[in-house]
């Protein structure tokens, strides 16, 4: 330190450091919509595979289309921003959890469809286990109990798929998609909107 500072100036310096660190870590990107988006994609795939034509195409086609649409939306979202939000270790950790889960689910779906060993109970149980894992890992990284609640919900659906009848397995999956994707996604979007308002205020 080159010059003596009074208590107020010291406090100002300290606040400046805290604010700038928080600013660096604050993400301006919104992710709540992705939960709602994927929830709708799962429901479309379930509806198509249950009642639509060429049911074997339902999951691969819906998942590929949803992935492409999401990538296009994220690219458009980033193009609108004048400056690129820098990566943080936290952000990369969350991103890696969800991307690897998505890849694992996609490969599982493709291989189960191709091998003809597709069984609804096993399929629902594995998908619920993977989504529970991703939510749990993400919640532990973010220290976010609400998301851990979603993970428990997914694992509950996994148990229902393992031990329940066909009807219970499907019902558990539908309820979990609604709660953990649609409701949780809307909740995230509300939180993000509040944070944006607080930032602009």
């Amino acid at each position: 330190m080159t010059e003596p500072l009074n208590s107020q100036e010291l406090q100002d310096r300290f606040s400046l450091i805290e604010n700038m660190i928080a600013e660096g870590r604050r993400t301006t990107e919104s992710w709540g919509w992705t939960f709602v988006f994927w929830g709708v994609a799962y429901l479309v795939a379930i509806a198509w595979s249950s009642w639509g034509p060429k049911a074997f195409l339902a999951w691969p086609v819906t998942m590929i289309a949803a992935t492409l649409l999401m990538c296009a939306r994220i690219a458009a979202q980033r193009r609108r921003k004048p400056e690129k939000q820098p990566d943080t270790t936290l952000g990369r950790a969350i991103f890696s959890v969800w991307v690897t889960t998505g890849m694992a689910m996609f490969l599982l779906l493709i291989f189960l469809s191709m091998s003809g060993r597709f069984d609804w109970h096993v399929f629902i149980a594995v998908v619920c286990a993977l989504l529970g894992l991703a939510n749990a890992a993400s919640s532990l990284i973010l220290k976010w109990n609400t998301q851990f609640g979603c993970a428990v919900f997914w694992w509950g659906a996994m148990a229902a798929a393992c031990f329940g009848s066909d009807r219970i397995a499907i019902a558990a999956l539908l309820v979990t998609i609604f709660v953990c994707q649609i409701v949780f996604g809307v909740y995230c979007m509300v939180l993000e909107a509040r944070e944006r308002e607080a930032t602009h205020a």
């Binding site: 310096r13 300290f14 450091i17 700038m20 660190i21 600013e23 820098p86 990566d87």
Partner: protein, 91 residues
């Protein structure tokens, strides 16, 4: 070296991210290009940040990353401020 407000703000911003573009640092600090460039150059000369210049989609892009020395210096500065604040409260 990091006592200057803008240099302190820059190191604090960089400590929370992996690397940051010049334009992002400018937006966050509200500084002018000239002043920001000069302060970043001082930090670079002190070995507190590294700079990488490249072309992305035919546009020049300059990114900055905090070094270990920069992290240590900021940590020491924070410790010193805390100590001074502690003694100011005691007095």
């Amino acid at each position: 070296m990091i006592h200057g407000k803008l240099r302190l703000a820059l190191l604090s911003l960089l400590v929370g991210v992996e690397e940051a573009e010049f334009t992002w640092l400018r937006a966050k600090t509200g500084s002018t290009d000239g002043n920001l460039g000069a302060q970043l150059l001082k930090l670079e000369e002190a070995g507190y940040v590294t700079v990488e210049k490249k072309f992305v989609n035919k546009k020049p892009q300059t990114t900055y990353r905090i070094t270990e020395a920069g992290r240590q210096s900021l940590a020491e500065y924070v410790r010193a401020i805390k100590q001074l604040l502690g003694s100011a409260m005691d007095a």
